[in-house]
């Protein structure tokens, strides 16, 4: 039994007579990996997230977690293994305070109270929200609420964490904070991360990227490989970041880099390299 999430030829549609949202989708996510799933609206990426922990079930094909195919009998086991953070910060905050909300998942799994109190303090440290334990949701910013949501997932110690457009409703600062938090969590744990997004800037830190288009896996590769396909990316409706566009324009003028720069720092570095080797 391999420890991974496996989609094999998964097809899914919301209504029987509707066109399929996913068509023969086939991929896997290994334990410990950070995989970004990217695609424009309606590409089926959120459906993938919901199939991963049994909020939806495949019409044909199998979705399996650590070797067991998800069906109605084992769905609660699966949900313990696969945690989810959703898009809207307000609509996933269940508790009346930060502490109550983080504990919600643990309460569902019958964790004893003393363990919960310890765990809440621990995960609040992980997301840098130590002093907010007693805060009510309306006193938190969107980014803080999302960090609480992440903490709530971490508290039940899942093997996989799916972030379904978790930064889409945040301002740039909140988005940056979340990505920072996620990166740190990933660094000192063996948590498998699956981030679902439509923003190419968010795939940079991932190990592997799956690009979805029209319900099909359109491309699979490292962030650098994805960035190298920027022309094609814009044809499937994804916004190409400035650095990638710049690289593209420079290539047209006969300037090419050894490796695709992913962000401003790498771009500057490449430019210096170019300058010094000239």
């Amino acid at each position: 039994m391999r420890e991974r999430i496996d989609f094999s030829d998964v097809t899914f549609r919301y209504q029987e007579d509707a066109p399929p949202v996913l068509k023969d989708v086939d991929f896997f996510i290994d334990k410990g990996e950070w995989v970004a799933i990217i695609g424009h609206n309606g590409s089926g990426k959120s459906t993938i997230a919901k199939l991963m922990n049994g909020l939806l079930f495949a019409e044909s094909g199998d979705v399996s977690v650590d070797g067991s195919v998800i069906h109605t009998d084992n769905v609660w086991e699966i949900r313990k293994k696969v945690g989810m953070v959703f898009q809207n910060p307000d609509n996933q905050f269940v508790g009346t305070t930060v502490r109550d909300d983080i504990a919600f998942g643990m309460e569902n799994h019958g964790v004893p109270r003393e363990v919960m109190l310890e765990k809440v303090a621990e995960v609040l440290r992980d997301v840098q929200m130590e002093s907010y334990e007693e805060h009510e949701p309306h006193r938190l910013s969107g980014g803080q609420k999302q960090r609480v949501a992440i903490a709530g997932v971490l508290a039940v110690a899942p093997d996989y964490m799916v972030l379904d457009e978790a930064t889409a409703m945040l301002d740039p600062k909140g988005r940056q904070d979340i990505l920072e938090t996620v990166r740190e969590v990933q660094e000192h744990s063996d948590l498998t991360l699956i981030t679902i997004t439509h923003d190419l800037r968010e795939i940079v830190a991932a190990d592997r990227v799956i690009v979805m288009n029209e319900g099909e896996v359109w491309f699979e590769g490292t962030p650098r490989e994805v960035f190298a396909h920027k022309d094609a990316l814009s044809t499937i409706g994804l916004d190409v970041p400035f650095v990638a566009k710049l690289t593209q324009e420079m290539k047209k003028h006969g300037i090419s880099f050894d490796r695709e720069p992913l962000n401003h720092e790498e771009m500057v570095e490449e430019l210096w390299n170019l300058h010094s080797t000239k």
Binding site: N53, L55, W76, R79, K80, G83, M84, F86, N88, D90, N91, Q92, F93, V94, G95, T96, T97, R99, D100, A103, F104, G105, M106, E107, N108, H109, G110, V111, P112, R113, M116, L117, V120, E136, P137, H138, R139, G152, V153, V156
Partner: protein, 265 residues
């Protein structure tokens, strides 16, 4: 939006009454309501009034807040008194004012009934003044727990209450946002006839309802994703514990009850 927005009447504080277990408070109030109907002498009323007023003072909640809680019922209290005074004619005529006879018995009856009313409202309002809504929810869940055997959905009721409490500020913020958005499109909430203003509420309510349903759906999904499958096998992070002060309060209240019963006529 006010950051320290408080739902309901709750006035945060640190008095003994604030720190009591909410179950203690609910139980004492429950039995107080019963005992009030046993009082029938000057002494018994005196003891209960002293107890209620003393408790109100012990909460250290500003009296203006206490008075605010009583505001909607002042009218009823006075109305009850006057009704008895003018309508019922029992006992001896005490005195005649402007040709209208005042009877001794109706004066006493009106007085005691109004006093009972006042005591009930005063004492029950102390619960909401000193206990946060979520504590009350916890206490209700704990106290109703035995009803679970009768298949009464205790846990679901408590969850519904706590989620409502959680979403009140969110929906209020949203209502404010929608009303501003609609006002900027020319909807007038402030002027015009009552009918005009009523119909101006509709473009506020419809979007609010739509979004509330959407929120409910997403919340349900998030709860399921986090493993929620009803109250079975669930633990709770908020624990209610009876401390020494709670037992002390029960004991003290028992003495008040005994004294009230003992001084009945």
């Amino acid at each position: 939006m006010n950051n320290s927005m408080i739902i309901g009447q709750y006035v945060p504080g640190n008095s003994l009454i604030h720190r009591l277990d909410p179950r203690t408070k609910i139980l004492v109030i429950f039995f107080f309501v019963i005992v009030v109907f046993f009082a029938n002498s000057v002494w018994s009323y005196g003891i209960l009034t002293a107890f209620a007023v003393g408790t109100a003072l012990a909460t250290r909640v500003p009296l203006s807040f206490v008075a605010k809680g009583l505001k909607p019922v002042w009218f009823l209290i006075i109305f009850t008194f006057l009704l008895h005074l003018f309508v019922s004619r029992q006992g001896d005529i005490l005195f005649t004012l402007l040709g209208f006879p005042f009877y001794e018995e109706s004066l006493i009856q009106g007085g005691t009934l109004s006093l009972r009313f006042f005591l009930l409202i005063l004492f029950t309002s102390l619960l909401t003044l000193t206990t946060s809504p979520i504590e009350i929810t916890d206490a209700i869940e704990a106290l109703l727990h035995p009803l679970k055997k009768l298949r009464f959905p205790v846990h679901e009721l408590a969850l519904m209450m706590s989620i409502s409490l959680r979403f009140i500020p969110t929906l209020m913020q949203e209502a404010e946002k929608i009303s501003k958005a609609q006002a900027s499109r020319g909807v007038d909430f402030r002027t015009g006839s009552l009918k005009d203003r009523m119909s101006a509420i509709i473009p506020l309510l419809i979007p609010l309802f739509v979004s509330a349903f959407k929120r409910a759906e997403e919340l349900a999904m998030a709860m399921e994703a986090r493993g929620y499958q009803g109250g079975e096998g669930r633990t709770k992070i908020r624990a209610l514990v009876f401390y020494r002060k709670d037992y002390f309060v029960f004991f003290f209240f028992l003495m008040i009850v005994a004294a009230t019963i003992g001084t009945r006529m």
